[in-house]
Symmetry: D2
Subunit: 233 residues, 4 copies
């Protein structure tokens, strides 16, 4: 039989989150409470400011991406909010929002920037956190996060390592911008976050957007139908 | 063919959230960005303070409830973060987190407190927002939210209506505390939020907790198995 | 603490399904095993033939419908088979596959055909099981199911009641065909199935189609992106 | 913009499944229609018999496993059938139902039995398809599937390779039974199925069981709550 134990929280009269009384958590800003819950300590004011920026940067990205399409399509099938939001979150797989976690993992590994670039180039793959379809010179979201991290004195060795990866890649192949995933991954790593929370962080940031889209979809009269074409024999 | 239009946000170089440039949204606190995204305007400082308290109040509730069990059980089956968190959100149906939305709906209806209590008593049902298994005198989370709303001058006619419902119910049947769902529903209604976002609000607040539990589950060696018993013939 | 008891099945050395040894169930056709599992007895040969037709009739419907779009979109986000198929099933809400269950419910109610039509017309709603976008004279899938039920001597009072509903509706409003949902609902009701299994039956029939589409999507190189348009201020 | 094309099926008046008219598919047994849909041709009578046995063998496994617990827990939260069944399917990750696919993949690889055993032993891992907690001498479900495949003349080189893997493993480490996952994987591979459908096949077989459990859960009065314990500081 399974044994349900946790170090995270308790409920009821003596409810706590990571040892803090729930009543005190209710006086914390939501982003600070998220930090406490996931990291186990309270952020400093500077860490809090940077963390808020990172969360707000990913809050919504228009209507055409896979998670939004999935959430709204499911809602249009005649479902409840929880069902539709979950369908949106399901879409956030390796190819859609997965770069932050993969990038955090390589930054937190023992491998040097040089070894990392070698390995990816050998497999012919793109490096997570590097390159953007639209921006050639710089990705403004990435720059804003990096600038804020530097101003606040929170940019450390992982930001440095990310820049080295970018430089190594430019020397061997072609110069590409550091994108927002790379900036978030580097800064979150410097803030001491486990890479296995990279996707979870993105899910937390994106959930409000999915709720907003499902809410908007509630006013649509019909269900979503795409033009399909049968190309079999 | 479906036509994907939205009033919520756009992506790319000119990315906006409800008309605000993404760069500016990145300077907003996460809770304020959530408010902007879902309600379409920016909260005042007082509204922001109260909204943060409401979000932080629901952030996690221990390990035994349906959404946590579902998320951790799915993770233990050998899945990724997004799949497991989605399974937790699926559990947030009418019976688990649904009271806020139902309560917002009756508070935002034209019905008087008297009519509402009549209707529920006729159907022999519990009234959403009233009653608590543990607390007989007062629910401390509810009290904290109501006190803060009053101190900030943000408690309005919906908080009043909720109190009338509680009073009407006490006169006809039995005196019960207003619980945290009732307090959240009343305050969010006074803050001008559409009741159809009640469940969505709860999902946003609970998602960090689900991420934390899935992360903790990653260190469990085995999958979750309950003691089942066959009681068929 | 929850108590996990079931009358459905057991596992391990003495595994049974509804009292039948698993070894014997393995000698049954899959559709017969489904019947045993859900209804608790074994179908006759005639019931089995009709049940197979009903299941096969819903097995797949092209690529543009909500459940297929949702499943394939989620797969394209970089996910595993189980995650993507689940996203497809999530789309099967009230508006997409829900008519069978709603129709079974009214057929299994005490209400007469006349009362049913009255009630729906009063609320200005379409009647589940009646009407089809394409077919004006008859829906060939519905006809095939009804014919087979009649040939096999399995059409009973629920098929009769469904025809009366169609006739009542034609007298009051306009003559419309009985669609495949109506035929399935009537026949499954005559076969003695609980209406609360109506949606479940549809899910069982549609799952192979979702698996096929997710498998096909695995060969697509990119993730699914729709043309979205921002129409906010 | 995404382009929705498929070789699987079409809907509407000329609806087909893999080139077969839907009307004709409706005359096929459900298991045969599943085969057509997923594999693109029709099974012989012998293939059909074996395929039915494989599907029926996995139809349900009691109430304590992760997928059933997940589905029933979500249903108890106040949800619809589709939402709850999807939560059960989500639980079918790598660790719960994933062995069939992994085993099909190694059987369909170029690697010899010897190389496969070498590789797994080197990484210290269990070999998929080999070993069972309960059965020491033989797994009766595995034996039944293998016997039937041999009687029907359908056991081929993949069944042979699976036996070699078992033998190699016994020589190097310890003799373990071939389990039902191994038998299904070997037979489905000999039947010509793509290994990437291994998990999908299991999902199709298990969905009726999930529907049955969610249906049974509908009669439970309360939601599922486990005894959780807070073990934090």
């Amino acid at each position: 039989m399974t044994d349900w134990k946790t170090e995270i929280s308790s409920s009821g009269e003596d409810a706590v989150i990571r040892g803090e009384k729930l009543g005190e958590v209710m006086d914390m800003d939501f982003a600070d409470a998220i930090w406490l819950l996931l990291k186990g300590d309270k952020p400093s004011n500077k860490e809090s400011e940077l963390f808020n920026t990172i969360l707000s940067s990913s809050i919504d990205h228009g209507v055409g991406n896979p998670s939004t399409v999935s959430a709204r399509t499911v809602q249009s099938g005649g479902n409840e909010m929880n069902t539709s939001v979950a369908a949106g979150i399901l879409a956030l797989g390796d190819a859609h929002g997965g770069a932050i976690e993969e990038c955090m993992q390589i930054l937190q590994s023992e491998d040097t920037a040089e070894e990392i670039v070698d390995e990816y180039l050998e497999e012919g793959e793109k490096i997570p956190g590097i390159g953007h379809k639209v921006y050639e010179d710089e990705d403004p979201r990435a720059q804003k996060i990096l600038s804020k991290a530097e101003e606040l004195g929170l940019a450390g060795e992982k930001v440095e390592k990310m820049k080295e990866i970018q430089k190594e890649f430019a020397e061997r192949k072609v110069g590409l911008v550091m994108n927002v995933d790379g900036a978030v991954a580097a800064v979150m790593s410097d803030l001491g976050w486990d890479y296995r929370l990279g996707k979870g962080l993105f899910i937390i940031a994106r959930t409000p957007g999915l709720v907003a889209h499902v809410h908007e979809e509630m006013d649509e009269p019909d269900f979503r139908r795409e033009d399909g074409e049968y190309v079999g024999e």
